[in-house]
């Protein structure tokens, strides 16, 4: 196992004792963009949230850089779906990016020069410097995604967990976000992105995880993004929530 890798073994996550993800295991290396694919209710969001430390693990372990990750930590940044965010919150673009530094500064301490520089750099990298004093509802969808990415950069996170970032974006914004992802990948970040538009998979990702309650395939797009695997992922419902009598 390489040291610059995310290693997940035997991961099971349950809601009210009913597993949503079964014994999932994979290894990913930094500097790649990974698509998390699967039908609704397949456990895509569950996987991202479990990695972010938002859900308790029933079984299994998560190791990053050879260190076991338990609960919340600075290396992983979770970016929620856009509709989950209160965009009327009284804060500016810069205010949101500064939130990424809250972990590294003690609650009551003032921001240091280093914090300020990190925020500046993150804004610059996401090309949001000119808009830093805008209230966040006065942004386009693509800009809103870039604000959250800038926050993850300010946090100095290495693994970015994005829940459906392309949903509701128009074509130019999608193109812009694509470029940003490429740039982050080249910087050595590991991006895990849940996604449902299969057509754009080859141009967006270099690896994919195919999920449907369990992991059906994992690997490079050229190897595992095949018709056969997709039929297995989307055609059958292994351990789906419907089998347990729950609505998806």
């Amino acid at each position: 196992m390489s040291s610059h890798s995310l290693h997940v073994e035997d991961l099971t996550v349950s809601y009210r004792r009913i597993p949503a993800l079964h014994h999932v295991g994979f290894t990913l290396t930094c500097g790649s963009a990974v698509g998390v694919l699967g039908p609704n209710g397949a456990g895509k969001s569950t996987l991202l949230k479990a990695l972010a430390g938002l859900l308790p693990l029933e079984t299994g372990r998560i190791t990053f850089h050879g260190r076991e990750m338990k609960g919340a930590n600075q290396e992983f940044a979770y970016l929620p779906q856009r509709e989950m965010v209160d965009w009327d919150f009284p804060t500016t673009v810069r205010g949101v990016v500064e939130m990424g530094r809250y972990l590294s500064v003690r609650w009551w301490k003032r921001f240091s020069q280093e914090d300020r520089l990190a925020v500046d750099a993150a804004l610059e990298a996401m090309q949001m410097t000119a808009l830093q004093d805008r209230q966040i509802s006065a942004l386009s969808g693509g800009q809103q995604q870039r604000v959250f990415l800038a926050r993850a950069l300010a946090q100095e996170a290495h693994v970015l967990l994005l829940d459906e970032p392309f949903t509701g974006l128009d074509q130019p914004s999608q193109e812009g976000l694509k470029l940003v992802f490429r740039q982050l990948r080249e910087q050595g970040k590991l991006l895990l992105i849940s996604h449902h538009d299969l057509g754009s998979v080859p141009e967006l990702f270099d690896q994919v995880l195919l999920l449907n309650g369990e992991l059906l395939a994992a690997g490079r797009v050229v190897d595992v993004f095949t018709q056969e695997n997709l039929t297995r992922t989307y055609g059958t419902r292994v351990f789906s929530r419907i089998d347990h009598g729950l609505a998806t």
Partner: protein, 296 residues
Amino acid sequence: MDWLLEPFQHAFMQRALVACVLIGFLNGFMGGFVMLRRMALMADSLSHSLLPGLAVGVLLFGLAPMGLFFGALSAALIVALGAQLLARGTRVKEDTALAILYTCAFSSGVVLLSFVKVRVSLLHYLFGNILGVSNQDLWLAYGVAVVVLPLLVAAERPLQLLLFDASVARSQGVPVSLLNTGLVVALVLTMLSSLQAVGVILLLGLLIAPAATVYLLCDSFPALLWGGGALGVFGAVSGLWLSYWLGVPSGACIVLVLGGLFCVAYLVSPRYGLIPKLWKARHFHKESLARWEQHH
């Protein structure tokens, strides 16, 4: 200037002035958290559930302020935490659980107060009387302010994260449920300190109106808190002053002043007000019309 200062030459008005400054600031500051956490209705139900606690306090200890304080505190905490427990254990949602618990609590307060031998008017607790605050009431407000404000200020950043996005806050290691409970306790303490002055029913206005007004005027979280506090003081003091000259109940006057200020902000706030928005719409229309004519 005499007309401005004359009311405050009386001792009872000076005491009321101190009370206004203390609880005005405390409520206005706290209001920002309550509004962004969408706890306004929860605050309302909590304020009503103070009543049975007061009744039990009176039954057990007479009108001693400390007995009332702990009675009301425990009643509100039982309702708040009970609602969370009920919601967690069943499919019943938290607002539903709160609605049941607080109406039951309020009713038992009414029933209990009818057993109280000491002559206490229910009306007194419903509407309060800022002119009747005792030294002990002032000390209570002061004590709550000294405990609650520094804690809220110290935890401002994690609280901001929590209010903005609870899941991201949790993923960054913010102790989400601890802070949530802390907010509820701070809210209950704030309410208790204002009970004597504005009463169970008007509490909510003093709590929410300043924050809602500032929310229409700024885009900064610290400004929302401190501005809310300042506006709370201004509204409470000017409401008290007006009530002196008009000879009307002070609590209602304070809430009406704050409500009036909210209306002004709603109408004329440069960024989010109704009038600038309408005016701007026409302005842009003219501009685009002019551009269109230029092209053709």
